[in-house]
Assembly symmetry: C2
């Protein structure tokens, strides 16, 4: 962890110097991280200059989806690795044209456990939990939800078809992180996106 934290510190210096914010988006495989980024990047409310660092175990599928929207995206393949490490992020950052950026969005490997353990130099971890996953995930995987500065409950358009009690889920989130902002999001219906963008655009996290 020592080396990892060193690299994270270096990235933080670079970001500070260039006045860029960086967020680290973490959630299970298929919780809707890439679809969220597609919707955010298409939104008229999102007027930041940004780039995406796209972490995946294999394939460039997600980077290609964002490329198709003219988003500046770097693909980071972990080749089996279960999380992104600070050194990979640092290398990717130095390849970006940092003078033209306000925000770097890291989409981590789909995994509720390991990515939460690693500082990559980000200003905020953001937890993404799809409502298809069940209410109790915040207490079953508490580390991520405790560390996060925002929690996104995604796919809320599916709530009518699911045995999912959203208030119970929010109670579970509050048990591990009493004051974290929680956003209810349905990316494919553009629901909750504006509120999340407003949060993303502030620079107090």
């Amino acid at each position: 962890m020592g080396k990892n934290d060193e690299w994270a510190g270096k990235s933080r210096e670079i970001l500070k110097d260039k006045n860029i914010r960086m967020v680290n988006i973490i959630g299970s495989p298929g919780c809707g991280k890439t679809t969220l980024l597609e919707t955010v990047s298409k939104s008229d409310d999102f007027d930041l200059r940004f780039a995406v660092l796209e972490g995946d175990v294999e394939t460039a599928n997600d980077a290609e989806r964002l490329n198709a929207l003219n988003v500046e995206v770097s693909q980071l393949i972990t080749s089996g690795g279960c999380h992104l490490e600070a050194k990979m992020i640092n290398a990717a950052l130095t390849d970006l044209n940092l003078d033209d950026l306000d925000l770097v969005i890291v989409e981590n490997v789909g995994n509720l456990v390991c990515p939460a353990e690693f500082d990559i130099g980000e200003h905020a971890k953001i937890a993404v939990l799809s409502v298809t996953e069940g209410e109790d995930k915040p207490v079953k995987y508490p580390h991520l939800f405790r560390e996060s500065k925002a929690v996104l409950l995604t796919k809320v358009d599916l709530l009518p078809y699911l045995p999912f009690d959203i208030d119970k889920c929010i109670d579970y989130i509050r048990q591990v992180n009493a004051n974290v902002p929680i956003f209810r999001i349905a990316s494919i219906k553009n629901e909750g996106i504006k509120e999340f963008i407003t949060w993303l655009k502030q620079d107090t996290y």
Copy 2:
């Protein structure tokens, strides 16, 4: 890995001696592993004597759900760990009354990446993928799908509400594992359960 494989070997010996099969169920958080086990254990078609080893990062929620159905279950808490290791399984096995068992079902920690890397002495890994997670997960997380002797596509009752192409998903599975049996399952509607139980009861995997 050397130590882990040694413990896995010891467990395999014990299971062979007692003529018990062991399966290792792996999938993302919230893909429906516990609900599947609830439905299987309630099914009239499931006449094996079995126990569940329930892996979780935190909480005994899942073990309690199965306990409520009078299933014999041991809770294994990894306290932050992202997968079950062979030594934990070996210790849990020796606590079971092995003379009264035909099958041990391990529910691994919710994670598509790390648990696939570890031999725990099982006869088969079983991959669980919820249709809410998107079609491309088998190629994005190929290791698990390559290693598995069965793939369960769960929550198929939600297909009418999702932009999910099941044939495309099956194509992706076939790209990494050409002949693996694939089951379409909706646990809460009891769909596909009988077929999965028939597979589970054979002893050729």
